[in-house]
Amino acid sequence: MTQPTIPVPEPDEASRPFFDGAAEGRLMLMRCIDCQTWRLPARQHCDVCLSDRYRWEPASGRGRVRTFGIMHQRYHPAFQVPYNVTVVELEEGPRLPTNLVDVANEAIYVGMPVEVVFERYDDVTLPRFRPARDL
């Protein structure tokens, strides 16, 4: 029997630059051309000024733990409990649901500086975060 795999997203047209960027080791975000606000997830309109003019730009990949939980409930067989579910607030502002890697669950704290790493799953690469090494 094969190991169950986590439910990885299937890139759609709107999100393709995000996933293509991840595959190349870059964290790409949408940014409003008119008011410069960074946003996530991908969407046509800026939620600040409602402009539909945007471009994709590489983000710093740095952020801080906004909040986190330690999951014990087995919702999906591919996730070995307990595992952390973390929201990282990027330096650019957007918040990303993710997991921290290279850190014990007990060592995670709100405000912890983190940096992006990329993990490949078959045809999709996802951003994860680890404790920041250079402050």
């Binding site: 997203p9 890139p11 999100s15 600040v48 909040t67 986190f68 409930q73 996802l126």
Partner: protein, 395 residues
């Protein structure tokens, strides 16, 4: 000068089914609650001229109430009809829109109905709300980042919110546990409650983790059942069979979440905005409230909501509840039927139904001082909020 809407309408009918593993369709559950509510109000079915409908989780997962409920109930005299959804804030909102319609002369007796039946024979309560984890389809686009991080169910965002409150303000696990224990004490006095065995703080800490910092006993029940409420003009209510429960104030607040820096959805909810509107309408403040029926999908929801209604300062909810003031014999009786944690989970109808029971003075051994009752509803990860201020006293 009194607010023009204060006390113009009253709740005159209440009907409830048994709650829990009741395996019936949502239409059947709704019809039982409606028949009870109409009889309770001393009305005939044809007197109902307004119908507001709220489906629970089955509105999303399948089998939930639709506008078709009108014909299932055979209601032919409707001058007001809608199917509403603002998550857990909908029940209070239905009463609000009923009040507005009555005041405007658009309807007289408005029936507000909630039914849900997510529990299926042979499946767990958790399976009813797990959602994305069992979706065989590959999630599309960036919305799929949640499932890819193992971010499942409603438990996750509420755990994340509670964690942030703990980190910012030093809120302790015990503070959440004291809320769970107090509500179970109330539930022991409620014949409709699903969970009536008393629990201790030790039981709370020993209950399994769902997602830290939430134990099993921090999380609400899952229930099949239905609740129907009838709202009528105040001048008619006084001649109807039940003690009228007057609507003195109401408000809503929906701050949204931008998903970026600047949003504090975890710790500052729409309750703050709703409170301003409702307190002003009712001409009261937090010190006038004699009991609370607070939406309690999680223990944390109670704590943060009490802060946002001004019972204590932001961040001080933990120390505020620490002395057990929310439980039986306490100075701020809260969720006196056991709430969603221990009695039954009918979304916003849980706090509303207990608010009506208390407002009528029908609480039996759990009856508390009912002069000014705060009823709240929230949903959508603390994003949507609505409230009512109820009283047995005419305005």
């Amino acid at each position: 000068m009194a607010h023009p809407l204060r006390g113009v309408a009253a709740i005159t009918g209440l009907g409830m089914t048994p709650m829990g593993r009741i395996y019936r369709s949502t239409n059947e559950l709704a019809a039982e609650a409606v028949a009870k509510a109409i009889a309770d109000a001393g009305l005939r079915k044809d007197d109902i001229d307004g119908l507001l409908i709220n489906a629970g989780i089955t509105g999303t997962t399948g089998g939930g109430l639709t506008l078709g409920l009108q014909n299932y109930l055979g209601l032919k005299n409707l001058r007001l009809l809608n199917h509403m959804n603002a998550a857990g804030s909908t029940a209070a909102q239905m009463v609000q829109y009923a009040t507005l319609a009555i005041h405007a002369g658009m309807a007289t007796h408005v029936l507000c109905v909630f039914a849900d039946a997510p529990l299926k024979e042979g499946t767990s309560a958790g399976a009813a709300y797990g959602g994305a984890a069992r979706n065989p389809q590959r999630p599309k686009g960036m919305a799929g980042l949640y499932a890819a991080a193992g971010y499942f169910g409603a438990n996750t965002p509420y755990a994340l919110a509670a964690r942030r409150h703990m980190a910012l303000y030093g809120t302790k696990q015990d503070h959440l546990g004291i809320i769970a224990v107090g509500q179970r004490q109330w539930a022991t006095m409620n014949p409709l409650a699903q969970m009536r065995e008393p629990i201790t703080l030790e039981d709370y800490h020993a209950s399994r983790w769902i997602i830290e910092p939430l134990h099993l006993l921090d999380c609400c029940l899952v229930s099949n059942g239905a609740v129907a409420v009838i709202v009528s003009p105040a001048d008619r209510a006084k001649d109807m069979p039940q003690p009228p429960v007057y609507i003195h104030g109401m408000g809503q607040g929906h701050p949204g979440d931008s998903g970026r820096a600047g949003s504090d959805w975890e710790t500052e909810t729409g309750a703050r905005i709703a409170a301003e509107t409702a307190y002003r309408m009712a001409g009261v403040g937090p010190s006038d409230i004699t009991c609370c029926q607070i939406y309690d999908c999680y223990t944390y929801t109670v704590l943060v909501t009490l802060e946002d209604y001004g019972f204590c300062k932001k961040g001080e909810g933990g120390p505020f509840v620490e002395d057990g003031k929310l439980g039986p014999g306490g100075s701020l009786p809260t969720n006196t039927g056991g709430g969603e944690l221990s009695a039954y989970y009918m979304w916003g109808m849980t706090p509303l139904s207990e608010g009506i029971i208390q407002g009528r003075g029908h609480g039996g051994e759990r009856q508390v001082k009912n002069d000014v009752i705060l009823v709240t509803g929230n949903g959508g990860n603390l994003s949507y909020h609505a409230c009512l201020i109820l009283s047995p006293h005419p305005a």
